[in-house]
């Protein structure tokens, strides 16, 4: 992975969609993310020595063991065992609405979310952060116990190999279900299209913040959902309820755009009000910077 240089290919969602499996996608995203950083994202907070490794450009100079350099004439960096008890909870919306891909997008919202979640899991695993994974349906499903071991990581990756099949999802219920299990000062990452009344999210977000949890909401939408850029008259069918509707896009486009913009504003405002992080992700745009959002929040928590 170290051979991968920063280039535009990491931002190519078309290329991401063509990668064969989730693990490769995750490594692709993480490699792309790391290649874009100018310094090591984390430093060990503990004083316990773990191991040496060769100096790499971007490593801080203060981490170089000058004594070892004097002995061996080679630059080595001291790695220390990091101490943390923070668990990152990743909640992924698995409703049918996530299984949507328009003609302009290269992957469904569900695939996009899974790739992003897998990247997070890999990244967290590399950083030895404890992570847990749960799916948002009518209620919170298959929530794993938090852990940083490799077996734990593999199990969560295996769980991601599934379809978005729930006819509907209730994020508020799922967050409420999470409350008893969530640890204080943990992080909650939610990946959803948020087709839910933002008011319903007020209470669970308040409770999570009360537990001093950091909440990051990743709002994943297809470009067609944002612009409603249809031309011809349509016979639309809803993915979850399979309701049908005949309409002329030109006649409803303005109203639709207004509604979705208001909805996005509402969620965003709610996040600001509850001191949560919010990021709107378009499935045609690479999710790498979602990782960045996480890093900045993680640093803040340190």
């Amino acid at each position: 992975m170290s051979n991968i240089n920063l280039s535009s290919e990491f931002f190519d969602t078309e290329l991401l969609s063509r990668l064969p499996n989730l693990e490769v996608k995750a490594r692709f995203l993480v490699a792309g993310f790391l290649a874009g950083l100018h310094k090591t994202p984390f430093r060990g907070s503990s004083v316990e020595f773990k191991e040496y490794r060769d100096y790499q450009p971007g490593d801080e100079l203060k981490l170089i063991d000058w004594k070892a350099y004097a002995r061996t004439d080679r630059l080595h960096v001291k790695l220390r065992e990091e101490e943390t008890n923070m668990t990152v909870n990743l909640l992924v919306d698995k409703s049918c609405s996530m299984d949507y891909k328009s003609r302009t997008a290269s992957m469904t919202k569900w695939d996009y979310s899974r790739a992003l979640v897998a990247a997070f899991l890999l990244f967290l695993h590399k950083q030895r952060d404890a992570a847990s994974l749960g799916f948002v349906g009518r209620t919170l499903e298959e929530l794993t116990r938090g852990g940083a071991r490799a077996s734990h990581y593999r199990r969560m990756m295996a769980l991601l190999h599934r379809d978005a099949d729930d006819s509907e999802s209730h994020l508020a219920n799922s967050l409420n279900s999470l409350l008893p299990a969530v640890e204080m000062r943990s992080m909650i990452l939610v990946f959803s299209d948020f087709y839910e009344d933002p008011k319903a999210l007020k209470a669970p977000l308040s409770h999570l913040r009360h537990l001093k949890c950091e909440v990051l909401l990743f709002h994943i939408l297809d470009p067609m959902e944002i612009s409603f850029d249809f031309d011809e008259p349509l016979l639309l069918q809803e993915l979850e309820s399979e309701d049908k509707m005949r309409l002329s896009p030109d006649l409803v486009r303005d109203d639709y755009n207004e509604s979705i913009r208001r909805h996005i504003d509402d969620i965003s405002s709610l996040c600001v009000a509850r001191d949560c992080e919010y990021l709107l992700l378009d499935t045609t745009v690479s999710p790498i910077h979602a990782l960045g959002k996480y890093i900045s929040k993680r640093r803040f928590m340190q």
């Binding site: 996530m98 008259p233 016979l235 069918q237 809803e238 049908k244 509707m245 030109d250 006649l251």
Partner: protein
């Protein structure tokens, strides 16, 4: 409001129906999956009623756009009744040269100009100048100055006139006009001739009035040169050509006149003539052209008569070659057939050549008196098949019978030979037509002693028959040519015709009739079309003006004209039609009221043929503007949506 092209409207409405059906029934059938229904529901449900209404508005706008475009193509217009003239008049002027009579020309012209001066915008007028063909002023107008100018430009005329075509065209032109009172005024001099082809049983259109204005004093005192022609062809330079000139007094008044004949502006002959009332005189004069080149003569009769343009006569002479006549056989005694064409060395009308293949080939006319050899016979047949003419004089022999049988003519000798004469002669046949007015001995006195029995084929014409009922003179059309057969050898043993006064004219007429077919005429009457090629230049001999003729070329004035081509020069003479010189008036009880229709006038609406945008105010641009506005509204409202 009326429509100029109603067909477009109905066609467009017919087209609109399937388009409307298509627009109404156009609904999507393919299912598109979409997750964000929660935002659409509120929008669509809220707008449902409004959009439904909007859809119908859009449909209505589209239909309206169709209709407006169709209406624009249908060209609706509003007849501008405010501008409908009170009356419309067609002034017809008889421009025949009899109208130039000194006794009434000025009176008629003043009267016509007075009528013209009465025109204004509400009483427009159209002028038709009736000559060989009618010249029309550009359109109905109330501009009396331009009308007067048009009339003056065409006066006086030199040609003849016919009223029927002019009246019918004036009637058709009036029919196009929306005026309430329509009238044709004809200025003429009561001469009978122009009315000769008017069909009185066919009245003018309903509502069209007809008025004939004539001078107070009708009739005229006129003398004219009625004919001037050469009696011999122009073959050699310096050889005197005899011309015959006919002058006639058409009035009941005596006239002293001077006849002057000029060539190249020099008087070559003059004579004082006294003409009694209605007297006709024929004169002859000789003139020897110095060069063998086309030239023209003009005769002028200086007299104080009412009409001057028929006091001039023009004649043209173009060098000619004597026709070649191939003739075989000999006659018993005097060869009168040969003498008919060559009375003397100087006065011959044809070059007689003996039979030979070459001479037969070049000959203009062939006279067969003895059966030729096979080669000559075949050559004669070929020439006749290709359009040549030949005369066969019957002389009994088996070879002659075989020769005639070859053309389908069965000939045999009658058992009893009696004296026979002409029983019937077809004087309407062109060969005999000119003999009707000639007072030379009667054809029916001629005796024939030995005649055959000829049975002519169906495609032949019997021109004369003997008293025994058998053909005497016949013509057989053989492919492109003609074969004349005279059932007599025309020698003194078989007939006394050769010494009869009619023989020489007949033989010459036969030659003229046979050889004149391919000749181009060089004498024309005013109004006749002169055939000219593309590169012909014409020079008016009198004025010296040269011009390239229009096609078809019809000279406007009488005179001699030189036609020049790259390789050819020819003089033609154009004369006034002499029938106009006669003073023959309409009867006193002549009325034109039968030309006026008794039916009531009906103002018919304009149809495609007669529609003129000038007749009314059109709404084309207004409708197009509305159509554009409707289409724009539809685009704004529908925004590409079709449901």
């Amino acid at each position: 409001m009326m429509l100029a092209f109603t067909g477009f409207m109905f066609g467009a409405i017919g087209l609109t129906v399937p388009v409307i059906l298509h627009l109404i029934r156009r609904k999507p059938t393919e299912i598109t999956k979409f997750p964000a229904f929660m935002f659409l529901r509120e929008s669509v449900v809220a707008k449902h009623a409004r959009n439904n209404f909007r859809k119908w508005i859009i449909l209505l706008l589209r239909c309206l756009a169709f209709l407006l475009l169709s209406a624009a193509f249908a060209w609706p217009y509003l007849p501008n009744f405010a501008k409908i003239p009170k009356s419309a008049t067609v002034l017809l002027w008889d421009n025949s040269f009899s109208m130039t009579s000194k006794s009434y020309f000025n009176e008629m012209k003043s009267s016509a100009l007075k009528k013209i001066s009465e025109t204004d915008r509400s009483n427009p007028m159209l002028i038709g100048i009736i000559a060989g063909k009618t010249s029309w002023s550009p359109k109905f107008t109330g501009d009396s100055a331009s009308l007067a100018e048009f009339l003056k430009k065409h006066l006086p005329g030199e040609s003849g006139s016919r009223f029927d075509a002019a009246l019918r065209e004036a009637d058709a032109r009036l029919e196009e006009m929306p005026g309430k009172k329509k009238k044709i005024i004809l200025f003429t001099d009561r001469q009978k001739l122009p009315w000769r082809d008017v069909v009185f049983t066919h009245p003018l259109s309903p509502g069209v009035g007809f008025e004939v204005l004539t001078p107070k004093k009708t009739g005229f005192d006129n003398i004219a040169i009625t004919s001037m022609k050469p009696l011999s062809p122009f073959i050699n330079a310096g050889e005197k050509i005899i011309f015959s000139i006919d002058v006639q007094n058409f009035s009941k008044k005596q006239f002293d006149a001077e006849l002057k004949i000029s060539a190249n502006a020099k008087v070559v002959f003059h004579e004082n003539i006294f003409l009694n009332p209605m007297e006709k005189k024929s004169l002859m004069f000789g003139f020897a052209p110095r060069k063998l080149a086309p030239f023209g003569l003009n005769a002028e009769l200086v007299a104080d008569d009412d009409i001057s343009c028929d006091n001039f006569r023009f004649v043209s002479l173009n060098p000619e070659k004597l026709p070649e006549v191939a003739i075989n056989g000999k006659s018993d005694g005097f060869d009168f057939v040969r003498l008919a064409y060559q009375t003397s060395g100087e006065n011959k009308v044809a070059e007689l050549v003996p039979f030979s293949e070459k001479n037969i080939e070049n000959a203009d006319f062939i006279i067969v008196r003895e059966i030729p050899n096979t080669a000559e016979r075949k050559r004669i047949e070929k020439i006749v098949e290709n359009g040549g003419d030949a005369l066969i004089l019957w002389r009994d022999s088996p070879r002659m019978r075989n020769f005639l049988l070859h053309f389908g003519i069965k000939a045999s000798v009658l058992p009893y030979q009696h004296l026979v004469r002409f029983e019937t002669i077809d004087f309407d046949h062109p060969l005999f037509k000119r003999f009707r007015n000639v007072k030379i001995g009667g054809f029916f006195e001629i005796a024939f002693f030995s005649t055959p029995k000829l049975v002519m084929p169906a495609n032949s014409t019997i021109i004369a028959e003997y008293s025994n009922g058998f053909p005497a003179i016949a013509v057989l059309r053989h492919k492109k040519g003609r074969l004349f057969i005279i059932a007599s050898s025309l020698d003194r043993k078989s007939s006394n015709w050769t010494v009869h006064s009619s023989f020489l004219p007949f033989m010459r007429e036969l030659l003229r009739f046979s050889t004149a077919a391919g000749k181009e005429s060089s004498t024309f009457a005013l109004g006749q079309i002169v055939d000219t090629s593309r590169r012909t230049r014409i020079t008016d001999v009198k004025t010296g003006n040269s011009f390239s003729p229009a096609k078809p070329f019809s000279p406007a004035r009488a005179g001699n004209y030189m036609l020049k081509n790259k390789s050819d020069r020819k003089m033609i003479s154009v004369n006034v039609p002499i029938e106009e010189s006669k003073n023959r008036l309409l009867p006193e009880n002549f009325k034109t009221s039968q030309l006026i229709s008794m039916r009531h006038s009906v103002m018919e609406k304009a149809d495609m043929d007669s529609f003129s945008p000038e007749q009314g105010r059109t709404f084309w641009w207004i409708i197009l503007l509305f159509a554009a506005l409707v289409i724009l509204s539809e685009l704004l409202l529908a925004n590409r949506t079709a449901l």
